[in-house]
């Protein structure tokens, strides 16, 4: 590993207010600054010399924001400083949002999960991240704050392009909100990587809600990772399933649609063409798993 070679000013605010002030002040001054939470992504790009900020604001000290809370009405609230590991080990997550814990279990190593935050993961805007596809199918919202106030955007609209998000330069993500999973709903996620815990060559999340007779698919959401410039919601594939009784044939059609919607590129590991095939395979498999879970839900 290379070392970070540029020197920078270092700030460690203790409250959200202080942090927001710094962010807004530096933004106005036109200072080249970066926010760092767990540092699991940002340190890497600094080591590679991709960015060399003059100032670094560590928000690790905002301990008020390190929480995972749940109530039936409001759903799950993940504070900006909650780590991957906290999600993976939370008993309420395991009970109510099992798919999140499953996703976390295969996200890199324990070390990375101990440091990295869920919010930091989506703020990084990596289309290959594991968190976003799952948040998309869980209908999550991302809450952001600036000195001027707060706003919320749906997870599916949060990432705009490669490493680009809806977050303004003078804002921070404060919370991720996930509504309680509706009844008769099954959610599943699989990432495909050759080495366990590695970044995905392709990943698929599916949430299926069945009608009260557990027969017809009343709602469905499909999220794809690693196969486009952003995490993707496969809306055409969803259309094929919504309002229908899901069969293997129908899933195969949806899989084809998802393949068409995805736009993967070649990488050292695999061709884009192959990644597109993976989308097809996993929409079928994960769709089936979600359906089974919905039936049992």
């Amino acid at each position: 590993m290379k070392n970070i070679t540029n020197s920078f000013e270092y700030f460690s605010p203790k409250t959200l207010e202080e942090a927001l002030k710094l962010v807004s002040q530096f933004d106005k001054e036109g200072k080249d600054f970066k926010v760092v939470a767990g540092g699991q992504s940002i340190n890497l790009v600094m080591k590679q010399g991709v960015i060399a900020p003059e100032a670094v604001i560590s928000i690790k000290g905002l301990s008020d924001m390190d929480y995972v809370k749940f109530d039936e009405k409001a759903g799950l609230k993940i504070g900006a400083l909650a780590t991957h590991r906290a999600i993976e080990r939370s008993s309420v997550v395991e009970k109510k949002f099992g798919v999140l814990a499953e996703m976390e279990h295969n996200l890199s190593s324990v070390e990375t999960r101990n440091w990295g935050t869920v919010a930091g993961n989506i703020c990084h805007g990596d289309p290959g991240g594991d968190v976003a596809p799952v948040l998309i199918v869980l209908n999550a919202n991302v809450k952001m704050a600036g000195v001027k106030g707060e706003r919320t955007v749906p997870a599916e609209d949060f990432t705009l392009d490669f490493y680009e998000t809806a977050l303004a330069h003078d804002e921070l993500v404060t919370e991720i909100q996930i509504p309680t999973v509706p009844p008769n709903t099954g959610v599943a996620y699989t990432k495909f990587s050759q080495v366990v815990g590695d970044f995905a060559l392709a990943s698929v999340a599916v949430a299926i809600t069945l009608d009260s007779k557990k027969d017809i698919c009343s709602d469905v959401r499909i999220g794809l990772g690693s196969v486009a410039a952003t995490p993707l919601r496969a809306k055409k594939a969803e259309e094929i399933l919504r309002g229908k009784k899901i069969t293997d044939d129908l899933l195969a059609k949806a899989a084809q649609a998802a393949m068409d919607e995805s736009d993967p590129t070649d990488s050292v590991d695999a061709s884009g063409e192959y990644k597109r095939e993976l989308v097809g395979v996993f929409v079928k498999r994960v769709g089936k798993e979600a359906l089974e879970r919905a039936k049992k839900a």
Binding site: M1, K2, N3, T5, S7, S109, F192, Q194, V195, V196, G197, D198, F199, L201, V268, D269, A270, S271, Y274, E277, L278, V281
Partner: protein, 767 residues
């Protein structure tokens, strides 16, 4: 099991284990000296280019920069490990006329901090004239290919022709003949500890001390002597704990030469540490190669002849590549009797970082081809893959004319035990699962003397002090494989004491006798013999004294065991070890008891005094839709002679399987005109703990007359069978065939589709 040994053969925790796991143990990486400077290389961005000029003036102006050196500052000449053949000593400290691969060092800076050194590197201006490069061995040998080293026509660095029996006649008599072609990819070494050295030159005495992450303090001493034009003895190499070598730390590398040169220039200690990208792009790796292999068999599966041709992608320099070329042939013949065998091998220079010995030392790619081909032949001939192997196994005393002789040889019982165990272990396979086999064998140290040492191959010195404590000195290198533990176990067994009685002083050229280092699985046998001899000398003194005190005749045997020296048949008659040591030293005019030992193999053929061997079975599952291959379960039946430390031996086997699985499944180094495309741990995929299969290891102990207490190799043999066993398991599961290693899912999916197409065509043809 009741044994006559009280130390060896018992699972023993690593003697360095506590220090390493608590972080107390020091690696070169952890070391700092007062006043120390940091060295860093200016590296070539071009794979092949003439150096026109180097301007360091801006770098020298940067505050904190203490020196910049270029090729012109190197006092010595070229060096290499093939010192018996000086033309193959082609390495240089800093390129002075031209560069031959991307990342080759052309200059180096020393500065007060790492950051300043990094900035200074960017300020050194180098002007190049770009030359055309060549990147594939088949291109390199063409007449119009650019020459990488002036004196090597067609870029051929080394060749090998070995032949025994009558190969053409063998093929003529064969009922079945097949030919296959393979391309095997290179594999990076990726030691946890990067290459790094800390050098301290004393201008007053003209002597150099260097701490370095090396596999062989002695080789480093020789390499530095050539590079710096110094006397060997004026260079003291100290090897602290080393975080892995795997073959990549035999050559003297620029971390060491540059640290030394900069220290000599500045008079201050200088440390050079490679970063991970430098590891991937500028240090040695396992060779890639093209290979053609032909086998001829009788109907009943008896191998009559084999012919193998390889051309390897050697890269810019020699390293131990010329030896790997030899061993790639030799170990392809093991553990089978091949009456007629021919091998033609070429090593080419290319404009890439160079290939060398890497765990398995040449054998890994060629064993892959041979074992995979054997399964294809078996399938076509309708013979069970284990049965075809059983049919052709070596037996004790087997000789390959002019090359090697195998003394202890447990391969037949190994395969028989495997056949039995398989039935219980895997009575039924799931859908898309398969089992693959591969046989293996490997040397217990090499006999070859390319290094041209006048010394014994291994030496040791034992000093027993008045309180019975022992100081054991040897240059033998523990690089993580556990030799320090093996060394003290052998010493303790011989003296009949405990390992806690021994203090080991390893890896220091100034205090310990020469040992050639940790490569070719040599330390247990070769250094073990030297230690046993040294300890044996002291033991003899103690036994003689005890005998005299007991007043016994020479006909009665005494043993040293469990800190007593006593009559073997009358254990109650004897003395304590401590009592005898004290008496012996007092009798000896107060001098501690000293024993010296050494070992060099004699009359053992060309390769090795002894061979570890066995058979591996792998169960794998294939995902027909994605091509993902999962290595599920491994069974190994192993003959490594008398096992010294069962824990260590198991660790070595697991490590070999781990590296072998990387070779089989995930590790490759895609290269674009000399540029390594995945030079990071993120992009270069290494098998992790969660990907590892279960490994069951069964022993078939033998006694090898060449080994200390009958011990032989256990560290490398099991890497070679891993990839072919995996490929054979996939072949068994779905018929997919591969002409390379690294079965990445995309590759596997393609092969599965090919196999399905072929099966359909065949079915059609039948109709």
């Amino acid at each position: 099991m009741e044994t006559k040994y009280s130390v060896i053969g018992k699972p023993t925790g690593n003697v360095d284990g506590m220090a390493k796991t608590t972080g107390e143990g020091k690696y070169t990486f952890d070391m700092y000296l007062p006043n120390m400077l940091y060295g860093k290389h200016v590296r070539s961005p071009y794979p092949h280019a003439k150096i026109i000029s180097i301007d360091a003036s801006e770098a020298l102006k940067l505050p904190g920069v203490k020196a910049v050196i270029t090729g012109k500052d190197v006092p010595g000449g070229k060096w290499g490990l093939w010192r018996r053949f000086r033309e193959l000593c082609d390495q240089i400290a800093l390129a002075d006329d031209k560069v031959r691969f991307i990342g080759e060092p052309v200059a180096a800076v020393a500065a007060t901090t790492k950051d300043i050194a990094a900035k200074a590197v960017e300020l050194v201006k180098v002007e190049y004239e770009i030359l055309p490069g060549v990147f594939d061995p088949l291109e390199a040998i063409k007449d119009d290919a650019p020459l990488i080293h002036e004196d090597f026509e067609n870029n051929i660095n080394a060749t090998r022709h070995i032949e025994w029996g009558n190969v053409d006649e063998g093929f003529k008599q064969a009922d079945y003949v097949r030919e296959d072609k393979f391309t095997l990819f290179p594999q990076a070494v990726v030691s946890m500890e990067v290459h790094n050295s800390l050098a301290s030159y004393d201008k007053g005495t003209g002597k150099l001390t260097i701490w370095s992450s090396t596999q062989s303090p002695y080789y480093l001493q020789l390499g530095l002597a050539d590079a710096l034009k110094m006397r060997e003895g004026d260079i003291r190499v100290i090897k602290p704990h080393v975080g892995g070598g795997y073959g990549g730390k035999n050559s003297t590398m620029p971390d060491a030469t540059t640290a030394a040169l900069l220290s000599m220039k500045t008079g201050r200690p200088v440390k050079v540490v490679f970063n991970r990208e430098e590891e991937f792009t500028t240090t040695e790796h396992r060779m890639g190669l093209h290979l053609a292999i032909k086998i001829g068999l009788k109907k009943d599966g008896t191998i009559l002849a084999r012919e193998c041709k390889i051309i390897t992608d050697g890269g810019a320099y020699t390293g131990l590549g010329a030896t790997a070329l030899y061993l790639a042939g030799i170990f392809q013949t093991f553990p089978y009797k091949i009456p007629n065998w021919r091998y033609d091998a070429f090593r080419t220079y290319t404009n890439k970082v160079w290939a060398t010995s890497v765990r398995g030392f040449g054998a890994v790619p060629t064993v892959y081809a041979a074992e995979v081909q054997l399964d294809r032949a078996a399938k076509e001939m309708g013979i069970d893959p284990l049965a075809i192997r059983r049919k052709n196994l070596m037996e004790p005393g087997y000789e390959a004319p002019g090359q090697y002789k195998v003394e202890s040889c447990g391969i037949v019982p190994c395969v028989d035990k495997m056949a039995e165990r398989i039935k219980e272990k895997w009575p039924k396979l799931e859908k898309d699962e398969g089992i693959g086999y591969a046989g293996f064998a490997y040397m217990s140290g090499g006999i070859f003397n390319w290094i041209d040492t006048p010394y014994a191959y291994s030496g040791a010195r034992v000093q027993v002090n008045i309180d019975g404590s022992v100081d054991l000195f040897t240059q033998a290198a523990d690089i993580g494989q556990g030799h320090n533990t093996v060394a003290v176990m052998i010493c303790a067994e011989e003296l009949g004491i405990g390992i806690e009685d021994i203090r080991l002083h390893p890896g220091d050229t100034a205090t310990a006798p020469v040992d050639l280092g940790a490569w070719g699985s040599r330390e247990t046998l070769m250094n073990g013999n030297a230690i046993k001899m040294a300890a044996g000398q002291v033991k003899q003194k103690l036994v003689d004294l005890a005998r005299a005190k007991l007043g016994e005749n020479i006909a009665y045997d005494l043993v040293c065991r469990e800190k007593r020296i006593y009559l073997e048949l009358r254990p109650e008659r004897g003395y304590s070890y401590y009592e005898m040591v004290e008496a012996a030293i007092k009798l000896n005019d107060g001098e501690p008891l000293i024993g010296t030992g050494h070992y060099t193999p004699h009359n053992k053929g060309m390769i090795s005094p002894a061979y570890g061997m066995g058979i591996m079975a792998m169960k794998a599952k294939v995902d027909r839709e994605t091509g993902l291959v999962e290595a599920k379960d491994v069974l190994i039946v192993h003959d490594c002679g008398q096992v010294i430390n069962p824990l260590g031996a198991r660790g070595q086997v697991e490590g070999s399987v781990h590296m072998g699985l990387g070779y089989a499944l995930t590790e490759e180094m895609p290269n674009d005109n000399g540029l390594v495309l995945n030079p990071s741990i993120n992009d270069y995929k290494i098998i992790r703990q969660r990907d590892m299969p279960q490994i069951e290891l069964l022993d078939v102990p033998t006694y090898d007359p060449s080994g200390p207490f009958g011990a032989k190799e256990a560290a490398e043999a099991t890497i070679s069978p891993t990839a072919p066993a995996l490929a054979n398991a996939v072949f068994d599961a779905c018929g997919a065939e591969f002409d390379s290693n690294c079965l990445k899912p995309e590759r596997v999916l393609k092969a599965i589709r090919e196999a399905e197409k072929n099966q359909k065509n065949k079915a059609k043809a039948k109709k």
